[in-house]
């Protein structure tokens, strides 16, 4: 297996791109990444996306995106793993390069959620669980996370205010991120006052609806070293699943897919979690951030919320987390998010994170999740 490097990154601002189509949004990020890499030819293209059939009545995204950026003919396909589609696209691209079959691979994710109404998005997001059994109950995706949030807060006696540390941290970082959807700070008080969406989850604990695209260019590490400095290596790319429906799991507060994937990742990258300098966590809702910290091994079970409250995830904390805003404040255009995480980690490791730069960031970990941790994808990046 060959080692894999990242030689180009690019992304769009997350927001409402009314005038830009799905294919053109992807192209915007793709061309930025190609220019950043300084190459013109790629051999394979992986496009992460969840809702194109529902929101744009469009499938066959691999061929569509390749055609729009002038390279019909390359290997191309759409990759789907619900909210983990982007991370999974990166994983597939990683495997393609590592296998030796191809050299230059474009991995990207794109989503345009604003092409449909909010109730339609709410309905579509429940495709992440078993439609006939889970969605049929009338539960929504935020509702599923609320089931975990209530159980967590009751079991470990966590107050609502303590759940707000994640969104507050996200927003604080997003304020300095030009591509963030919500680049402004918020307070715990403001978050607590926000309306209930699905009790006990408040509005300000939820990622918003937005459009965006993020792309990275992968190639063998040996070639990357000749093209770029510093070189970013993808030293681990792993994935795992869990029982699809939350309600069927014995332990509703154990993100088993994340746990499985991250243990494989630490082994693959030959590192201990202590070596992680920057972290990207899939905090679509604050409870997911909290449970992810626990599953990734940074906080003890039941202590994830307190870990965040104590400032350990801040830029100057023990493990700077979501340094460019995370899912709440940078945004969560579903299929693109996993690739935004990779782009933002690469920015940190290259020293291009501006005011949010973590000093001497050398190793980063990204956790991207589909459903309520029904699929987890972990990447470890290392500055070479």
């Amino acid at each position: 297996m060959r080692k894999v490097g990242i030689i180009g990154i690019g992304c769009t601002k997350v927001g409402e791109h009314w005038s830009t189509s799905l294919r053109d949004l992807f192209a915007e990020a793709a061309l930025k990444a190609l220019d950043d890499a300084g190459i013109e030819k790629i051999e394979s293209l992986y496009v992460g996306n969840m809702l194109s059939a529902h929101a744009q009545q469009q499938e066959h995204l691999g061929a569509l995106m390749a055609d729009n950026i002038g390279i019909p003919g390359v290997q191309a396909l759409k990759v789907e793993a619900a909210c983990g589609s982007g991370g999974m696209a990166v994983h597939e691209g990683f495997k393609a390069v590592a296998s030796g079959l191809v050299d230059f691979v474009m991995v990207g994710g794109v989503e345009k959620m604003t092409d449909i109404s909010t109730p339609e998005v709410t309905t579509a997001l429940m495709m992440a669980e078993n439609r006939e059994y889970s969605a049929f109950s009338g539960i929504t995706f935020v509702g599923l996370n609320a089931l975990c949030s209530r159980l967590y807060m009751e079991t470990f006696e966590v107050k609502p205010e303590e759940m707000m540390a994640f969104p507050v941290n996200d927003h604080s970082n997003a304020a300095n991120n030009p591509h963030a959807q919500y680049p402004f700070k918020i307070t715990v008080e403001r978050a607590i006052q926000s309306a209930m969406v699905a009790d006990p989850i408040h509005l300000f604990e939820c990622c918003g609806i937005g459009d965006g695209a993020a792309v990275a260019i992968l190639c063998p590490l040996e070639i990357a070293k000749k093209l770029k400095s510093p070189v970013i290596e993808v030293s681990a790319s792993t994935t795992a699943t869990n029982i699809l429906n939350l309600y069927e799991r014995d332990d509703l507060l154990d993100f088993a897919a994340t746990r499985r994937a991250v243990n494989q990742a630490y082994a693959m990258a030959n590192i201990d979690k202590k070596e992680i300098d920057v972290l990207e966590v899939h905090d679509a809702f604050s409870i997911v951030g909290v449970l992810s910290l626990e599953a990734l091994g940074f906080a003890e079970r039941g202590m994830g919320a307190r870990f965040a409250v104590e400032g350990k995830i801040a830029l100057d904390g023990e493990i700077p987390t979501n340094t460019m805003g995370g899912l709440k404040a940078r945004g969560h255009p579903i299929g693109a998010t996993g690739v935004y995480q990779i782009v933002e980690l690469a920015m940190q490791l290259r020293g291009e994170a501006g005011e949010n730069q973590v000093e001497d960031a050398e190793v980063g970990l990204a956790q991207n999740v589909g459903g309520v941790d029904s699929t987890a994808i972990i990447h470890v990046l290392r500055r070479n």
């Binding site: 709410t122 309905t123 009338g138 509702g143 609320a146 159980l151 699905a198 009790d199 429906n245 069927e248």
Partner: protein, 131 residues
């Protein structure tokens, strides 16, 4: 919801029919094709019990299409007495009175309608036990 899809799942939804692994006895809802505990491909259809306890719940205030008339409504995870869990709306009580741990029983109810001229969909919901 298409008619074939709705029709296919009717027995499992109307009567809470799950699957019991013939070899190790684990009960699933929905039925699986292979038991994840013992690997067996042999299942018996079983009617699940109709009593249980509320494990956790939420209040849906922003509904998906087709559930607007119930909003706001409670959805929770119910652990049935035979050790299997289902996800269901909790009905016949005020939202403020719903509590984790409360005892519930199954009830056959209308779930949703498919627009003005589509099928009317039914399923099982849970309500506080009438003692």
């Amino acid at each position: 919801m298409s008619v074939p899809r709705y029709w296919r799942e009717t027995p499992y939804r109307y009567m809470l029919v799950g699957g019991k692994c013939s070899d190790c006895g684990k009960i699933y809802y929905p039925i699986k094709k292979v038991c994840r505990v013992c690997g067996s491909r042999d299942f018996d259809q079983v009617k699940l019990g109709d009593r249980g306890k509320l494990v956790t719940f939420t209040v849906i205030r922003s509904p998906p299409s087709g559930y607007e008339e119930y909003t706001p409504y409670v959805v929770g995870i119910v652990e049935l007495d035979d050790d299997v869990r289902v996800i269901s709306q909790i009905v016949d009580c005020d939202i403020e009175d719903v509590r984790t741990g409360m005892e519930l029983e199954a009830a056959f109810r209308r779930a949703s309608t498919d627009g003005d001229s589509g099928i009317v969909m039914y399923g099982t919901k849970f309500r506080p036990v009438i003692s």
